[in-house]
Symmetry: C2
């Protein structure tokens, strides 16, 4: 049995792909689809996101974006979502919008990044996407659209930052379009008059995450995969002698710095999970599920179960209801020093997002959070004030020290990590599912079960040390991949070759062993 | 049978008082307690409200405030709310707050206004209220508190307005306290540093309207009064020949300017109501209820059923959740030219209110409405930003041309009006129930059923003409009372004497016949 801990977009995607491979799978989550995925805006926007992050994440994002069209099409089919289930939701809205915006991201992306992901992404969205995307069944069922993202600037500083970003994109071979304020308003007439310029990433896409998790749950149901509504209180370890003690399942070699890390590498393989019921749900039939393999996809809560450097980063979003769509594409900008974005849904809904708050496990929707969202969104698009408030929700993103996800097997046998996706869970779900599936279905060249305490530092890296990784991402991830290869560790890509192997190395849990 | 159309705080209060008199009563409302009462903050603040309105309303408010303590005590008893039902909710919060604030409203109010209401009010809240109020069963059950209202000012203009208000209050014999900014912050430490002065109305009280309507429904249930979850589509009239045609039940003598006013005074007495089911509720057993008397207490929707000059005035409020109470009393102020108030509940909740929007029957919670509430509340009490958002709701106040309610019988036999309470429904509910009960249980000296078409103008007053009443409130209401007396009309106070008769005259439906 493969137990997936976590029923967000990442965990459910993994469960679905593993089940499709014929593997026995069970998902455990107290409220599937109601975590960070529920609060996500669903931007599939690696290009636009590069403004706020680093090149390795751009590469992961581009690789996953290229998988989204086929992922969506297969998901819609498996979930039994026909074209008539959501007819008319988005077709009318996107008509006539993408016509003037040909995919302008050239083959340079692939060259610049050393892989083929960028090129594939453009082709997928410029070509195939037209048939299975917004106008197709999968597009409508999941509200998948690819009308681009427009980053806008107000002041001289913002404009300069856009110029820098455009130059950087150009160097990477990403042919974004630099627009004047007037051109921005021609594209999006509801933009504030004070917008002085913009940067259009024409191929950036987005999807409705709530539809995605609902479709994944439907697909799992049709495949006969149980989804247990319960909370996992701990991972069971081989040789557990004190059932009352929470046992760490560290990715580090030493004893854990993690929340419950009482035992380190000395403890044996992960052998299952312990459950506790949640209020309002039926008592689970069992309190323990034995598993050949446990996939930890618990998002911000992953650090509660294993020694992974994941912290909660709170985000509050607001969904507004609009009789006519205010925007034709995603719009984002810096207001009062914080990024704000507006994502239009096919049914006229407009998502405002999102705060970024480091407050621990706090999921309260606050007066201050709403105030900032509304204030900033009004500056970008004054017309939002007329819209009805449909929903307000807070979620916890799983942040990591280097903003990159943690995917693959560490050195604890039986445990696969798929967490730390931060702002990118929805975008990165197809790639994550593919990497985990590859790791699970392909025997590693070197046994993943070999403890490597001899080559590892005696202590797990401290939080402070991990934090330094933020500024040395590329070096760290390169080092991690090299080290992983040298040490013969499984990075979740034991025999993955070419692009997938490189991507897997970027996400390898092993990278955190080497920063200290 | 007495049919009460409308299950808000006004309609339910009337139903309860009539049932206590032994009269047969049925209430009809599609969603009792979920209209304007649900969105109300529950301020029982005639003194503070005078800042924004006129002296006649102050007089009505003071008279109703004096009835609140016994109203609440009897209601709690009839609803079966013991002291243990809500123990601990407010006792701890209000302890030590009212000590330093003795009731400072002197007997001058009675003298200045020609009645005894003000004095009674103070005595009630300064004396009896201590036992049945916040520390008593009724106080806890309904979250009834009397810790006062603090009006604050930021700029020179606001301070001058407070001085004017204080002078006006003084003239009325209302001994409010004029405070410096420092004194304001000593009372309420969470107030913004920019607050430069304030006016304290120490005896102003407030109550949780949702608890009041819940208690009223419980009391009605115990008294065996049916509450039909249905919508009244029209009032049945004596001599109805076209069942499909909505028949006006005008208060004016001529043919109606009202929404459905197809027939005027020529149509006969109101003989009942026609119902239609509402989604999600059981089909009502009957589609028509015959009634000796129909009390129209449908709030903003009253104008849809009879020719009364009531219009919807939208208000949006927000309820925040606070671990510790931020405020000890109601705080209000003018911010950006609009009044904003914060009302603390016994359980730590803080209500922010309220927008005033003239948008017809629009109950959408909007981004702009929330933005203004949050922006203005932050200026008064910056700490609100840390609080959790518990609830956001919009309601429709029933506004009238002169801001005074319309209570009593008009010239249509069988119809009693109890509507147009605008911002004061919760405050005025006890007085309204008393006036309606008096009108119903006491035969008028002159038959209320006599049509007065001979003395009335041929046309119902136009909206424009009614609007002029806003600036001539006192004259108009005095004239109305005089005219009512001269014409021998029932004002709902046919044999009411002294104070009640005068109050009834202020609210008489007849006043709108004489403005043109």
């Amino acid at each position: 049995m493969n137990v997936i801990v976590g029923g967000g977009v990442v965990g459910l995607s993994i469960a679905w792909r593993l089940a499709r491979e014929g593997l026995p799978v069970t998902v455990v989550d107290p409220a599937p689809g109601r975590g960070a995925s529920y609060a996500a805006a669903g931007m599939l926007a690696p290009v636009s996101e590069v403004a706020y992050t680093e090149e390795p994440l751009l590469r992961l994002g581009a690789a996953s974006l290229s998988r989204w069209p086929s992922f969506a099409a297969e998901l819609a089919a498996d979930a039994g979502l026909g074209p008539d289930l959501s007819a008319g939701r988005s077709a009318g809205l996107s008509a006539g919008r993408s016509a003037g915006l040909s995919a302008s991201l050239g083959p340079g992306l692939g060259a610049g990044l050393g892989g083929g992901a960028g090129t594939r992404s453009r082709e997928a969205f410029g070509g195939t996407f037209g048939m299975i995307g917004p106008e197709g069944a999968a597009g409508r069922a999941l509200d998948l659209r690819a009308d681009g993202t427009l980053d806008v600037a107000f002041g001289a500083d913002d404009l300069a930052a856009l110029d820098d970003l455009a130059a950087f994109m150009d160097k990477l071979g990403l042919r974004v379009e630099r627009l004047t304020g007037r051109e921005c308003r021609r594209l999006e007439p509801m933009l504030a008059p004070s917008v002085r310029g913009g940067l259009l990433a024409p191929g950036d896409a987005w999807v409705d995450p709530r539809r995605v998790t609902a479709a994944l749950l439907a697909a799992l149901d049709r495949l006969g995969v149980p989804v247990v509504r319960a909370r996992v209180t701990r991972l069971l370890r081989d040789g557990d002698t004190a059932p009352g003690v929470v046992t760490g399942a560290g990715i580090g070699a030493g004893t854990g710095g993690g929340t419950g890390g009482a035992a380190g590498a000395a403890a044996g393989a992960v052998t299952g999970v312990r459950l506790e019921p949640v209020p309002g749900q039926p008592e689970p039939a069992v309190r323990e599920i034995a598993a050949e393999r446990v996939v930890l996809a618990a998002g911000a809560w992953s650090g509660e179960l294993a020694d992974v450097p994941v912290r909660p980063v709170k985000g509050q979003i607001m969904r507004l209801r609009s009789p006519q769509p205010l925007l034709g594409r995603c719009v984002r900008g810096m207001v009062h020093g914080a990024p704000v974005y507006l994502v239009p849904r096919g049914d006229g809904e407009l998502v405002l997002g999102a705060t970024q708050e480091e407050l621990g496990f706090d999921t309260r929707v606050t007066a201050g959070g709403l105030y900032e969202l509304l204030r900033d969104a009004r500056e970008l698009v004054p017309g939002v004030t007329e819209l009805e408030v449909a929903d307000v929700v807070a979620g916890l993103r799983p942040g990591t020290p280097d903003n990159l996800p943690i995917i693959g097997t560490g050195e604890v046998p039986g445990l696969v990590l798929a967490t730390g996706h931060h702002r990118g869970g929805v975008l990165l779900a197809p790639l994550t599912a593919a990497l985990v599936t590859a790791a699970v279905t392909t025997p590693a060249t070197t046994p993943a079960t070999t403890p490597v305490t001899t080559t590892a530092p005696p202590q797990a890296p401290s939080t402070a040390a991990l934090a330094t990784a933020r500024t040395t991402t590329q070096t760290a991830t390169q080092t991690a991949a090299q080290t992983a290869a040298q040490a013969g560790l499984s990075t979740g890509a034991g025999i993955l070759t070419g692009e997938e192997g490189e991507l897997a190395a970027l996400c390898s849990p092993a990278r955190f062993r080497d920063i200290s």
